[in-house]
Amino acid sequence: MVVNSVHWFRKGLRLHDNPVLQEALNGADTVRCVYILDPWFAGAANVGINRWRFLLEALEDLDSSLKKLNSRLFVVRGQPTDVLPRLFKEWKVTRLTFEYDPEPYGKERDGAIIKMAQEFGVETIVRNAHTLYNLDRIIEANNNSPPLTFKRFQTIVSRLELPRRPLLPITQQQMENCRTEIADNHDQLYSIPSLEELGFRTVGLPPAVWRGGETEALDRLNKHLDKKVWVANFEHPRVNTCSLYASPTGLSPYLRFGCLSCRVLYYNLRELYMKLRKHCSPPLSLFGQLLWREFFYTAATNNPNFDRMEGNPICVQIPWDQNPEALAKWAEGRTGFPWIDAIMTQLRQEGWIHHLARHAVACFLTRGDLWISWESGMKVFEELLLDADWSVNAGSWMWLSCSAFFQQFFHCYCPVGFGRRTDPSGDYIRRYIPILKDYPNRYIYEPWNAPESVQKAAKCVVGVDYPKPMINHAEGSRLNIERMKQVYQQLSHYRGLSLLASVPTIQEEAEPPMTDESRTSSGPDSPPKGPADSEAADCSTAPDSSTVCAFSTYSPYPDLEGATNSHPSQTPCAYSVSHTQPSAAITSASASQALSTAAPPSPASTPTQSSLSRFKPSSPSSSCPTMSPSLSPAMTMTQHSFSGQKRKGLVSKVRCIQRQRGRQSCTPAAGEVERRAEEEEKEREEAGLEERMEQDVEQDEERMEEETAGHQQ
C-alpha cells in the first residue's frame, strides 16, 4: 500500500530532534511538509510585526533546509479545517503527522482535526516534543492535579526518568526514500508570504534583533558550548546592565517556536556540566529556566481559562481597575518613569526584554502601581514578545501579579530604585529613550526631580518633552499593598496584623513529615504531640482583636476591610470560618472577610472550589474552630505532614518504614548504625546510577529528618 505522508508544522519548526517528522518519513512513499497560515487572519490577530517576522524567517530557514534535502516546505493559505481536507484529496494522503500541542486551545483544535482525518481514512500520528516531559504524567504523579508550587513541581520531576534523548536531524537518505516531486509552480502555490502580504507596513522597519530559524538557533547554541560561564549562569542567573540587552546568545524565542528542541538544550547543558564538574550529575537548578517553562505548561494544559481571571480556578479574583488610558501609557512607554518606558520601548522595538525587566513592568502595571488587570498586560506581551508561549506568558503574569501560586506579595519593584540598582549608570535608559540622554546619572531614573536648570540643560523638560510620572509611586504602593492584603486575607481567613501571614499556605508544599518523624521517634506511648504544638503556643504574635467591638452575635457583618470580591461565585471559601467568632466590625484584626465567610459558598461556587480549596487557610481558627485563634500556621504544618506522607513515592515509603523500624526496635545507637549503613548504600546507589537526579528535594528532606531525629536521640 502506498503511504503518502503530510507533516504539519505548527510549532516545532526544525528538522533536528523532531520525532513526529521521523514518523512521517518512516516507510512513507511521499512526504510533504506543510505550514498552514491564513493571511487574512494574520493582520487581525493580536500578534506584532516582530513575531510575524520571526515566524516567516523560521519558515524560510525550514524551506531552505528542506531544499538541501531535495524537498520543500509547502505553505498553504487558509484555515486548517478547510485546507487539510483539500490536501487529503489532492495528494491522496494516508498519514498526517504533527507535534503534540499541550495547550488547551491546541488540544481542542487537534482533536477536531484527528476526527476529521479519520473520516478521510487518514492515519494521524502525534508525538510530544515541545516539552521535556509528558505533562500528563507529571499531573498524574501529583495526584491528578498540576503542582502549584515550583518546589513541588521539581520534586515530582526529579522522580520521573530523564527526558527522552533528542533525535538526530533527518538525513538526506531518509528523505531520498520518500521523495516528492516538486512542481515547477511550487513557488507560486506554496511560497512563504512576505510581511506585506500579511498586511504590515515594512517601510522604515529596522533590522531584526532576533533572526528566526533553526539554523540561527543551533548557531547560538553551539557558540558557547565551551563556555564555563554559561553553566554557572544557568544555574544561578544574576543580573547586570549587560544582561538587559538582547544577547546574541539568547535562546528563548527559538524555544517558543520550536526552532530549538528543549531536549537538545537540556542534554547539552547536562553534558557540559558533567564535563566541567567531573561527571557529577547536574542539580535540578541547572535546568531551572527550562523547568519553569514546563511548570507553567503543566499548570495550563487542562485549564482553558488559564489566560483569564474569570472562570480560572487557580486565579485569585482581584478587583482590578479598568483604565484604558493608563494601560495605553504603559504599553506605549509613556508612563513618565524612564525605567518602565525604556523597557516597554525595547520590548516594542526588539521583541525581547530581560526577565527582571518583565518583572518590573508587570509589577508596575498590576499590583505595584497602576492596579490594572494582568490580562491586559499579558495581551500586550503576547503581541510584542517573541518568546511568549501562551502558558508561560499567562502563568508568569499571574505569578507576578500575585494572582496565583500564592507567593508573598509584599515585595514591590520600585520603578526608580530597581532600575537604578540594576544599571546605576542609566545607559540602558539613554539607549531606549534618547531624549533623556543628557540627564546626569543622578536624575536619569527620576527626571521629574531634577531642578529646572538641569532639565533645561539636558534639553528635556519634564511635562513638555517627556511625560510627568503618571502616578505617585509611594502613594500607589501604599494603596496597593493594602488592597493585596485585603484580597489575601479574604483567602486565608487570616485576621491579624501580620502582612506575611496573610498569604495562604499551599498544602502541597508542606510535604515532608518532619513532625511525623519526631512523633515516631518519641515512641508509641507518648501522646500525639509534635513539636509544632509547643511552637505554636509560642508564637501567638498576631493579636486577636475580635473583642474590640462585638456587635450582634450571629448576623454577618459588612466587610469593611475587604476591597474584595465581586465574583462571589468564584470566591474560594470552601474552608470558610462561619460565624464562630463574634467578630468585630471593621477592626483591622478581625473583620476582613465577614460577608463572604459568614455566608456559605453559593452553589455556583462548587466547580471552582476544587482546586483552590487545596489552599489551606493559614489561620488555624478556620480549619478547626475550637482552636485558639492565636495558634500559628505551624499548626497547619503538622496537619499537612500526614497528607504529604501519602504522596511519597513507593521507594521512599519503604525507606521511611525501614527507618522507623530501626528507630523503634533498636537502641538509638543501633538505629544510628543502621541509618549510616543505609546512607552509604544510598550513596553507592547514587554513584552507580548516573541517570539519577542529584538534586532530589525529597532526599534533602529525608536527610533533614534524619538529622533532626539524630539530635533528638
Binding site: F150, H224, V229, R238, N240, T241, C242, S243, S247, L251, C280, S285, Q289, P319, W320, Q322, H354, H355, D387, H411, C412, C414, R421, A474, E475, S477, R478, L497, S498, L499, L500, A501, E509, M514, T515, A532, T541, P543, S545, V548, F551, Y557, P558, L560, E561, A563, T564, S566, S578, T580, A585, I586, S588, T597, P600, P625, S632, A634, E701, M704
Partner: protein, 468 residues
Amino acid sequence: MKRIKGVEEDSNSSSSKSPPEVCKKVRKQTSDESVAVVASESTESDWARLPQELLLHIFQYLPLLDRAYASQVCRTWNQAFHMPELWRCFEFELNQPASSYLKATHPDLIKQIIKRHSNHLQYVSFKVDSSTESAEAACDILSQLVNCSLKTLGLISTARPSFMEVPKSHFISALTVVFVNSKSLSSLKIDDTPVDDPSLKVLVANNSDTLKLLKMSSCPHVSPAGILCVADQCHGLRELALNYHLLSDELLLALSSEKHVHLEHLRIDVVSENPGQHFHTIKKSSWDAMVRHSPKFNLVMYFFLYEDEFGPFFNEEVPVTHLYFGRSVSKEVLGRVGLHCPRLVELVVCANGLRPLDEELIRIAKHCTQLSAIGLGECEVSCSAFVEFVKMCGRRLSQLSIMEEVLIPDHKYSLDEIHWEVSKHLGRVWFPDMMPTWCRFVTSVSHRCLRRSRQLPGCTRKARTPRA
C-alpha cells in the same frame, strides 16, 4: 414535606461551617416542624407555619438574590424577607461598567433599601471603584440615610480612591448626615477621603461615647488638631489609623490619658509626597507614656519614603511592633531598627542597597526578641549570616520569606544547602521564595558573581557535597 426537607438539607449543607450547636438547633426545630406538618396533613399552609425565627435563620444563609426569589413563594416568606434582622448589614457596591469588572448593586435595590430598610441598617459599607460617579452615588446614598442609626460605616475604594474627586462640600455634607443621625457609631473607616476637621468635630459631638475604631489613612484635609480633638473626647477609641503628619506628641499623650481605654492598634503610614520632605520627630517620652498606658498595643508602621528621608526615624526607642518598608531603605536605618525596636514582631523590607545586610540582621535577631515574622525582598544577605539569623531567632520565626536570588552563597553554605539548614533551625520545611525566570537563556558574566569571588577568595560554588 419533601420540600421542607430540601430546605433543611440546604441550610445544613450551607451552614456546615457554623458552630455545631446552631446546626443542631436548626435541625431540631425543623424536625419538630415536620412532625407538625405531618399531623396537619395540609399542604397549603405548611409554608406559612415555618416559625419566623427559623425562616430568619435560613434566610441568613442565602445570598440576597436567593432571598428575593424565596420572598415570592408566599406571604410569610415575603414578610420574612423584610425582617429587620436581614437588613442590619448591607454592602453597597458602586461600580461603573467603564471602570470596573465588578458588578454593581442594582439601583432599584438601593431605592428599596432606602425606602423600606434604612432604619434597620447598622453595618454599612460602600465599595466604590475608581470612577467619580460611583463615589458621588455613594455620597447620595449616605445623605439619604437620615433615619438610621449606624454602628459601622466603611467607605472603601477598591481601585484608585475616588472620594477625593468628589466635591469636598458634597462629601462632607453626606458624611455629617450619618454622623448627626447615627449617634452610636462605633467603627468608621474613611481612608482616602476628603474628610476635614469640622466634620470630625461633628462626629465627636454625636458619637464620642461609642466610637471605638477610626481609620483615616491619607485624609489630607484633617489637621493634627482635628485628630487630637477626636482623641481627647472619644475615650473608648481602641484602633486608630492615620498618616504620620497627623501624629503628634499631644495625640499620644491624649490617647494615654487615664480616662482613655487601652489602645489596641495604632497604624501609621509614613508617605513621602515629594522627595526630601522633612518629617518631625516624636519624643521618646510620648511613646513611653503610650506603652505604660497600653502595654499590649500594636504599633504598625508602613514606610514609603526615599532613602534620605529616614533621618528623623529610629534614633530613639520606638515601640513599633509591625514594620513595613515599601521602598529601598539603607543599611544604616535597618541597623538603627535593630537597636531601637525592642517590641518588633514583624519586619518587612522590600529593598535595600547592594551591600549585604548581614550585621543588621544579626543585630535585629539579638535585640528584637519578639520578632516572629520577617520578609526580605531585594535585600542581599550572605547565606551564613542568614542561617545565623534564623538560628538565633529559632522556632519563633513563624513567617520567613526571602527571595532566593538575593541569598549570596559563601564558604559555609551554598544555595542548595541553605534550605535544609534553615529548615533545621525552624523545625519545619522551609524554602526561599522564587520568581519565575521566564526563559532567559542568555549568557553573560555577572558582575555580582565576579564581585563576590573577589570578596571571598577561594570561594567556589561547589556542587552538592556528598553526605557526611
